[in-house]
């Protein structure tokens, strides 16, 4: 539900961008309204929860074998968390500083 809400908000962001500077800057002002920030905060909590459950599920389904030993689920989850941090870092770099 919340993931789809973010898709919708991102779509609105892109739509505003496609309508020119005025529409885009209006959207940025809308993003600063307290109600909107609260909505994003709720979405963020839900999405991070989704990330946690998804990683746990993935580690449960996808057993990784190295030679004869099967990696424990914890190691798979750790790998996914590292991938998550790296991906987030790359996105943040492009989003903010590129």
């Amino acid at each position: 539900m919340f993931v789809a809400a973010f898709s919708g908000l991102l779509l609105l962001f892109l739509f505003a961008l496609s309508r020119g500077r005025e529409a885009y800057e209006g959207f940025l002002r809308w993003l600063k309204l307290p109600g909107v920030v609260a909505l994003f905060a709720v979405i963020l909590v839900a999405v991070v929860y989704h990330t946690a459950t998804w990683f746990r599920l993935t580690a449960h389904i996808q057993r990784i074998r190295v030679g004869r030993t099967v990696l424990p689920e914890g190691a798979t989850i750790a790998g996914l968390v590292v991938a998550w941090i790296v991906a987030s870092g790359i996105v943040a770099y492009f989003h903010i500083w590129f």
Binding site: V3, F6, S7, F40, A41, L44, W84, V91, A92, H95
Partner: protein, 155 residues
């Protein structure tokens, strides 16, 4: 009765005996043409794959976007020009970024569609109008995919 020991049998006798013991596979009629065609047209596996891809995008990439766009920007933690019109427009006009944003918008919609469709059955207990629910869920995702493609192409 004692069976002859293998070492005492000739090769021909061994092969004959092995043939005699073989259990032949029973011929079964394969699935009918109509059934196979239905399987081919059945989109369930495609939606499963999109659900999975959307789940991964949602888990791996969406949190940081929500944090930047929804929280960090409003809180004033970003550099002043991070979301300036010129910068964002320049970034979004890059073809690879467009492709990325298309996936970022569309794939989670399929994740939602698949999840929500089954939530309607299992969690809300609404078991009627199955086809209507499925068409509504996947239709929304497909519409979102088309709209996002169109919006990105007009930028």
């Amino acid at each position: 009765m004692d069976e002859p020991r293998v070492e005492e049998m000739s090769l021909g006798a061994i092969l004959d005996e092995s043939d005699a013991r073989e259990v032949r596979r029973r011929e079964r009629p394969g699935p009918s043409r109509a059934y196979r065609l239905r399987q081919l047209l059945h989109p369930e596996p495609i939606f499963w794959a999109l659900f999975s891809a959307g789940g991964f995008v949602a888990a791996l990439l969406v949190p940081v976007h929500v944090a930047i766009l929804g929280i960090a920007f409003a809180a004033g933690w970003l550099p002043d020009d991070a979301l300036s019109y010129e910068r964002v427009l320049h970034l979004v006009q890059l073809p690879l970024v467009k492709l990325y944003l298309w996936a970022l918008v569309a794939l989670p919609l399929y994740h939602w569609a698949h999840r929500f469709r089954f939530a309607i059955y299992h969690q809300f207990g609404i078991v009627r109008w199955k086809r209507f629910v499925a068409v509504g869920c996947y239709g929304t995702a497909i519409a979102g995919t088309a709209i996002s493609a169109w919006v990105l192409l007009t930028i």
